[in-house]
């Protein structure tokens, strides 16, 4: 049962609130599209519609997370975001290559989408050109990945946020603020199975207690990469989805739960977990859920 002594930051993006003490705001659910590269926009439109339907029903906010893997997809994907998803809907863009990130930021700005953008992500691999692009085209919110190749423990994750672990010139939090991004979400960087992957969960309450920032991770990645689960194919999707429960259970605020087509499984699981947390924190700490919380929606 968690209630943090540190004041908790709550950030809002286009009506979605992320952060705070456990039990106040529902866990924000970030579901990915276009993992394989080539976008299927018809399918995506339906998947996002279904995802938003779940939000309407259960209360947990949806963030579609758009993977952009090639330059040729940037404009198409941003046009899709601009034209096909609800006008106030926040979204995240999930890009690895620095060059693509820079081009996407420019275009997001051109299309007036930066206010709804969660930039996924800032990490130790940030280049000087990417820094400049972020200064010039600043997204409303960014996810910082607390990945520290030297130390995968919760302490190592805090180190990378605080001082960059001598891998970069600044702690990632300060660096991000200096770039002009004020709303920061911390991704605790789930590692490969067997490579201290549990530290991503353990780090959630530590980072929230020390920094008060909205925190979460993509713990499902660990399940997805667990080869031994190949012997349990029929249950694999449920195991993957259920891993997300760890995030609200340890005080986290958002979960990056993998493919958007897992929404049907993930949303009810997390809503149930949020209800459970709300019941005990209200009973024990007197913390009431927000009107958007599944406990308000469903009871």
């Amino acid at each position: 049962m968690f209630s943090f002594t540190k004041d908790q930051r709550i950030f809002e993006i286009s009506g979605v609130k992320i952060g705070g003490q456990p039990g106040v705001y529902p866990t924000v659910l970030i579901g990915g599209l276009f993992f394989k590269g080539e976008p299927d926009f018809i399918k995506a439109e339906n998947q996002i519609k279904d995802m938003l339907g779940l939000t309407k029903k259960l209360g947990n906010p949806s963030i579609p997370d758009f993977f952009i893997r090639k330059e040729q997809y940037i404009e198409k994907i941003l046009n899709f975001i601009d034209k096909k998803i609800p006008k106030r809907q926040p979204f995240s863009i999930d890009i690895i290559e620095p060059d693509l990130k820079i081009k996407t930021l420019q275009l997001l700005d051109d299309k007036g989408l930066l206010q709804r953008t969660i930039y996924n992500s800032i990490h130790i691999g940030i280049t000087n050109e990417e820094r400049d692009a972020l200064k010039n085209h600043t997204p409303n919110m960014a996810i910082i990945v607390a990945f520290n190749p030297k130390d995968k423990s919760p302490d190592g994750k805090i180190e990378i946020l605080e001082n960059g672990a001598n891998l970069i010139d600044n702690g990632l939090i300060n660096l991000t603020k200096k770039l002009g991004v004020k709303k920061i979400l911390v991704d605790t960087a789930a590692m490969a199975p067997g490579d201290y992957s549990g530290a991503a969960i353990a780090a959630i309450p530590v980072i929230k207690e020390e920094m008060g920032l909205p925190t979460g991770c993509a713990i499902h990645n660990v399940v997805e990469k667990s080869k031994w689960l190949d012997d349990f194919k029929s249950i694999r999707k449920q195991v993957d989805a259920s891993s997300n429960i760890n995030i609200p259970m340890f005080g986290g605020d958002f979960t990056i739960y993998g493919p958007i087509n897992n929404s049907n499984t993930v949303f009810p699981m997390i809503a149930w977990q949020d209800i459970l947390i709300s019941e005990y924190v209200e009973n024990y700490f007197g913390i009431s859920p927000d009107d958007s919380h599944p406990r308000r929606k469903l009871f």
């Binding site: 620095p98 130790i124 280049t127 190749p149 030297k150 891998l167 199975p193 490579d195």
Partner: protein, 298 residues
């Protein structure tokens, strides 16, 4: 006169490819640190240095140890939150790795950051006093040293904080680290040691290593004492990018020989080279080696 060996003090600059690490992370893969160690060691080998180190590439010299000792919590400065205890080998695996690719005629120095320096670099949130903390660090480091000696030719203890004053238990601290250690031990104290020379000369180590190039006044100060310890002479600066010419280094070593005679057993940079650009660090080592060859009459 025995030949003077060229050495390094410890750290060496490397270029870390952070994007490579991040890309591997997104694929849930791990990038080995071995290439960074190899990059540092190869530079030392290519420059012709006789006594090489692992380059302390993994971390600054304090964090290398505090990251792996029980009782420490890495924050902006390491915090001591529990009793300091050894939790298994810290630098040993890297030495084993280096031994697999260095020529047999090269020597390897195992590096240990001293307990007094660790104590003064950390925020003590657990112990009642610094002495108690220093001794627990020393006991933990002794366990590392005893394992380390099996894989290295000598051990270097780095105690820069001694330059600001050696506590009355300083000698006992060093004794604690080297208990059961039979390989030669070098104590490196950079900074201005003019006020602590008598204590340094009493230290239970084989070689004293100091920053003579940046602080040439130390020659005169040491000259006032009967030095019976062997000396590692700091001969190129670690805090400046200007590359000393071979002649300049030769003259510096000759000055050292005037004071210490054949007590000079090693020449090295003044300190770790981590703050220098890699290319600069390499050229400094190269000139150091050339100067050593001239002094040795090769």
């Amino acid at each position: 006169m025995n030949l003077i060996k060229t050495s390094v003090i410890g750290s060496y600059p490397i270029d870390i490819d952070t994007i490579k690490h991040v890309k591997a992370y997104f694929k849930q893969k791990i990038v080995s640190w071995d290439n960074y160690i190899k990059s540092a060691v190869k530079d030392m080998l290519n420059s012709g240095i006789d006594i090489i180190s692992d380059g302390q590439t993994r971390d600054p010299f304090v964090n290398i140890f505090t990251r792996r000792l029980k009782g420490c919590r890495i924050r902006d400065r390491t915090e001591i939150i529990d009793k300091i205890e050894y939790d298994g080998p810290i630098t040993v695996e890297d030495q084993k790795f280096i031994k697999t690719f260095i020529p047999k005629n090269k020597h390897l120095i195992g590096l240990i950051t001293g307990p007094y320096t660790l104590t003064n670099s950390c925020v003590n949130l657990f112990y009642n006093n610094d002495k108690e903390l220093s001794f627990d660090f020393a006991k933990a480091l002794n366990q590392e040293a005893k394992i380390l000696q099996k894989y290295v030719d000598l051990i270097g203890i780095d105690e820069p904080f001694f330059s600001m004053g050696i506590p009355d238990y300083g000698k006992e601290l060093i004794n604690t680290i080297i208990k059961g250690v039979s390989c030669p031990v070098r104590l490196h104290v950079c900074g201005n040691v003019k006020n602590v020379i008598p204590e340094l000369l009493e230290m239970p180590v084989d070689i004293l290593s100091h920053e003579f190039k940046a602080l040439p006044m130390l020659f005169d100060t040491f000259n006032q004492y009967d030095v019976k310890k062997d000396i590692c002479l700091g001969s190129v600066r670690s805090d400046k990018s200007d590359i000393e010419s071979v002649d300049e280094i030769v003259n510096h070593i000759k000055k050292g020989i005037d004071i210490f005679g054949d007590r000079i057993k090693q020449i090295a940079p003044d300190c770790g080279q981590k703050m220098l650009q890699k290319s600069v660090a390499f050229l400094k080592l190269k000139n150091l080696v050339k100067a050593g060859e001239i002094i040795n009459g090769r």
